[in-house]
């Protein structure tokens, strides 16, 4: 009786091993170098997870940033801190960590005493500036126009 149970258990373990499970790793926050590589020279589509509004942001390697949302644009600056936080400056400066959860990137907001919250999800990363036409000038307003 005991041997039957052992055999059944062994079979179960063997068969269990045959079923392929997708390998999911824990979300990782990105280093300064990884953030730089991810954003520099890219037009990034992101969605605010609370409002559902989509933004397109071009991160120029020279530190300028251009953002377009609902057919309005604003410009500012971006930097990456040594701790991996990306800082965007429009009217004011906000610095946030970026996390990678199995290939999907998120912007995190961490408030005192709270767990980090995924506030923005990144949908796609395109090379180059898709927001300005060839002869279009870089807008110089830090709040959305029109």
């Amino acid at each position: 009786m005991k041997s039957i149970a052992v055999i059944t258990l062994a079979m179960g373990l063997l068969l269990g091993g045959c079923v392929s499970q997708p390998m999911r790793s824990a979300p990782q926050t990105l280093s300064a170098q990884q953030v730089e590589q991810l954003f520099a020279g890219k037009t990034v589509e992101s969605v605010n997870r609370s409002t559902g509004i989509t933004s397109f942001t071009y991160y120029d390697p020279d530190g300028r940033v251009l953002q377009s949302r609902l057919w309005s644009q604003r410009s500012g600056k971006w930097t990456v801190k040594s701790n991996g936080k990306v800082c965007l400056t429009f009217d004011k400066t906000q610095c946030r960590r970026i996390a990678n959860d199995n290939g999907v990137y998120y912007k995190l907001r961490k408030r005192k005493g709270e767990k980090a919250k995924r506030v923005v999800a990144y949908r796609s990363f395109h090379d180059g500036n898709l927001l300005l036409g060839k002869n279009q000038a870089w807008p110089k307003v830090s709040h959305f126009r029109p």
Partner: protein, 237 residues
């Protein structure tokens, strides 16, 4: 004259923001245009829908119109509201999918009397350029004329119901994928209300507001969307 007044009411938010004198001047200028030209939604206009989606009309020519959604995807639509979106391209220019008419003549339904039905077949090409194995069959019925309220004002519409289905390759049995109840405004030349029902869920998208070309601002659009979101949450409660 009546049409012009309606047009002005629909673009209400814009008119309200302008001074009375400017509004009177604009209305006066609009009166000089032929009714047909002034009635249809003009390129540059922004449409806000009840489900929170927003689209901007980029162009309208040769029986086709190009809209852009808030993800800046370009949606090419036929001027025939019964046909699905003809193609969708992302901001980077990649084509996501396209549809083209294989058989049938959906145009025959546009001025047909209530009760008339017609079947047409559409083929879908995916982003890799591959044709879907199963053609998409549509059977549309004219439900007749009606009226709908947009921003509190009545708008004359033509109502249609379309069933999209596939046919079993051997048994030729119908498998209904979705049912669309459409309200089309011939004056605005756009669908103003869509009720979509699939075997799993049902959703509704109706036109809430139209913003005239060049009159939008981030603030006003954001406020409109926030109000819609609040209404939605209120409805859930």
């Amino acid at each position: 004259m009546k049409e012009m007044k309606k047009e002005a009411m629909l673009y209400g938010t814009v008119i309200q923001q302008m001074s009375r004198t400017t509004a009177a001047l604009c209305l006066g200028a609009a009166l000089l245009l032929p009714v047909s030209a002034a009635a249809a939604v003009m390129p540059g206009s922004i449409a806000i829908y009840s489900d929170g989606s927003v689209e901007k009309l980029l162009s309208r020519a040769n029986g086709k119109e190009v809209w852009q959604d808030s993800r800046y995807r370009r949606l090419t639509r036929s001027s025939n509201p019964l046909l699905p979106v003809l193609s969708r391209e992302s901001l980077g220019g990649e084509r996501n999918y396209s549809h083209f008419l294989r058989s049938g003549d959906p145009d025959m339904l546009l001025n047909a009397p209530a009760g008339r039905s017609h079947e047409f077949v559409v083929l879908r090409r995916d982003k890799y350029g591959n044709l879907a194995i199963k053609p998409r069959h549509f059977e549309c019925v004219v439900n007749g004329d009606g009226s709908i309220r947009i921003a509190g004002k009545p708008e004359k519409v033509k109502r249609f119901t379309c069933e999209r289905f596939t046919l079993h390759h051997k048994l030729l049995t119908k498998s209904i994928k979705e049912t669309l109840a459409l309200a089309y405004s011939p004056r605005l030349k756009m669908v103003v209300d869509t009720q979509r029902t699939t075997p799993k869920k049902s959703s509704r998208k109706s036109l809430v507001k139209l913003i005239a070309p060049g009159k939008h601002s981030y603030r006003t659009l954001r406020a409109e969307l926030k109000a819609l979101q609040a209404d939605k949450q209120e409805g859930v409660k």
